[in-house]
Amino acid sequence: MIIDSVEVETINSFSKLELLKEVYGLISILPILTLLLGITIEVLVIVWLEREISASIQQRIGPEYAGPLGLLQAIADGTKLLLKEDILPSRGDISLFSIGPSIAVISVLLSFLVIPLGYHFVLADLSIGVFLWIAISSIAPIGLLMAGYSSNNKYSFSGGLRAAAQSISYEIPLTFFVLAISLLSNSSSTVDIVEAQSKYGFFGWNIWRQPIGFLVFLISSLAECERLPFDLLEAEEELVAGYQTEYSGIKYGLFYLVSYLNLLVSSLFVTVLYLGGWNLSIPYISFFDFFQMNKAVGILEMTMGIFITLTKAYLFLFISITIRWTLPRMRMDQLLNLGWKFLLPISLGNLLLTTSSQLVSL
C-alpha cells in the first residue's frame, strides 16, 4: 500500500497532538481525588455502622453524642488520634516503625483502582484487574511484619509473625477461587467478569455457578482482613495488642483504617465476583425499557450502577460485622489448619470441577 509520505506526516503530527491531549486528560488527578473522598466517606460510614450493629447485637445503645445519631463518631475518633503524641520505642527501628503502617495502607488503597462501579466507571480498566488485587494484597503482610519487628517487643514480634502467617495462608485459597471465576468469565478484567454475569439477571450471578467458591471466598477474605473469627492478632495476648502494641496516635489510626478499608475492598470484590456487580439483575427485564429519555440515561445509569454495587457490598459488610460480634475466636493452629488442610484441597477440587465443566462445553 503506497501512502504519500507528506500525508502520513501530517496525519502523524495531528494525531500526536490528539494523543497528547488524551493522555493529559486521562492522567488528570480528579478521578483519583474523587475516589479518595469516596473512600473516606465510606470508612466513616462503616465505622459508624459497626458500632451501631455491635450495639444492637449486644442490646445497648451505640454512639449518640458525636453529631446526630452518632454519625460523626469516626471523625471524632480520627481527630483525637491525629492530635495524640507519636511515641517511638526507644530501641526500636524508627524508619521501619514509621513505614510499616504506610505500606499496609498503600497496598489496600491501590486495590480500589480496579473495582468497577459501572461500565465505564472504573479508574483503571486493566485486562488483569483481579490479579492486580491479589498481587497487591500480598504486600500488606510485609507492612505487618515490619511493624512487629521494629517495635522491639516480644509480643509485637510474635504477633507480627502470626499476622503474616495468617495472611499468606489464606491468600492461596482466595487466589484459586478467583482463578475459577476467571475461568468461568474467560477474563481477568473486573469489568468483563461483571459483564459475564449480566445475561440472565438474577440467575446469571456467579454465586450459583460457584457456590462453594462464594462461601470459601467469604471465609478467606475475613481471614485476610484479620477480623473475627480470625481475630487472634488483635486480641490474643489479650491485653497486649499484637503487632499494634507500641503504636499510638495516627499510626494506630492507620492500622485501624487498614482494617476497615480491607473489609470494604473484600465486600466490593465479593459483589463484583459473585453477585453481579452493577447489574440490576431482574431477569429478562432491561432496565432501560422503563425510561424513554436518551440524554439523561447516561447519568442515571451511572447513579444506579453505583447505588446497586454499594447496596450489595453493604449487605456483605453487614454479614461480616454480624459474624464478628457473634462468633468466638479461633486458635492459631486451628486457623492455619483450616487454611492449609481444608481450604486448599477444596480450592484445587473446585478448580478441577470448573475446568471439566468448561471442557465439556467446548
Binding site: 501512502i3 502520513v8 502523524n12 490528539e18 488524551e22 493522555v23 492522567i27 488527578i29 483519583i32 479518595l36 492530635l83 495524640k84 507519636d86 517511638l88 520505642p89 526507644s90 503502617p101 504506610s102 495502607v105 498503600i106 488503597l109 491501590l110 483502582l113 465505564h120 479508574l123 483503571a124 486493566l126 519487628y149 522491639n152 509480643y155 514480634f157 510474635s158 509473625l161 502467617a165 499468606i168 495462608s169 491468600e171 492461596i172 484459586f176 482463578l179 474467560n186 477474563s187 481477568s188 478484567s189 507500641e246 496516635g249 495516627i250 489510626g253 492507620l254 493452629d333 492455619l336 489448619n337 492449609w340 486448599l344 484445587l348 478441577l352 475446568t355 468448561q358 471442557l359 467446548l362
Partner: protein, 155 residues
C-alpha cells in the same frame, strides 16, 4: 482496547496507518503498543504517587500538638504489662513460623502461572487444560508429601 472506548477517529486512523508496510512503521507500532500499555497503567502510577502522600502526610500532623516524651522515659520502653521488659525482643522466635512462608512460596507462583492459562476461551483446545492439569498434579504430589510429613502440623 477498553481504554479507547468512545475515543478518537484520528487515533484509529493513526493506528491503521501504522499497521502497513515498512520497518519504521513497525517500530512505530511497537512504540504505540508501549503507549497503549502505559495508558492502561497510567492511573496506577499516579495513584502510587498519591497514596504514599495520603498515608505519610498524617504522620507529620501531630508534631505541633503533641507533648514531649523526654520527660517520661518509661513511655518509650517496651510494653510488658507494667513490669520492666525482660531480655531482648529479637533473640528467638518459634521455629514453627518458619516453614509457613516457605510452603507459601510454591503455591503462590503455581497460581500465578495458572492465571494466563485461565483466560483464553477456545484457543488452547484440549491440549491446554490437560497440560495445566499435569502441572497442577506435579505440585499436588509435592503438597501431599508435605502434608504427610507434617510440615504444616501443630501450628
Amino acid at each position: 482496547m477498553k481504554s479507547f472506548n468512545g475515543s478518537n477517529p484520528h487515533l484509529s486512523v493513526f493506528f491503521s496507518v501504522c499497521r502497513s508496510a515498512s520497518k519504521e512503521r513497525r517500530e512505530e507500532s511497537e512504540r504505540t503498543k508501549w503507549a497503549l500499555v502505559m495508558l492502561e497503567f497510567a492511573p496506577i502510577c499516579i495513584y502510587l504517587v498519591i497514596s504514599p502522600l495520603v498515608s505519610l502526610i498524617p504522620l507529620g500532623v501531630p508534631f505541633p500538638f503533641a507533648s514531649n516524651s523526654s520527660t517520661y522515659p518509661e513511655k518509650l520502653s517496651a510494653y510488658e504489662c507494667g513490669s520492666d521488659p525482660s531480655g531482648d525482643a529479637r533473640s528467638r522466635f518459634d521455629i514453627r513460623f518458619y516453614p509457613v512462608p516457605i510452603l507459601f512460596v510454591i503455591p503462590d507462583p503455581e497460581v500465578t502461572f495458572s492465571f494466563p492459562w485461565a483466560v483464553p476461551p477456545n484457543k488452547i483446545d484440549l491440549f491446554g487444560p490437560w497440560s495445566m492439569m499435569a502441572f497442577l498434579l506435579i505440585l499436588m504430589i509435592g503438597s501431599l508429601y508435605e502434608w504427610k510429613r507434617g510440615a504444616s502440623d501443630r501450628e
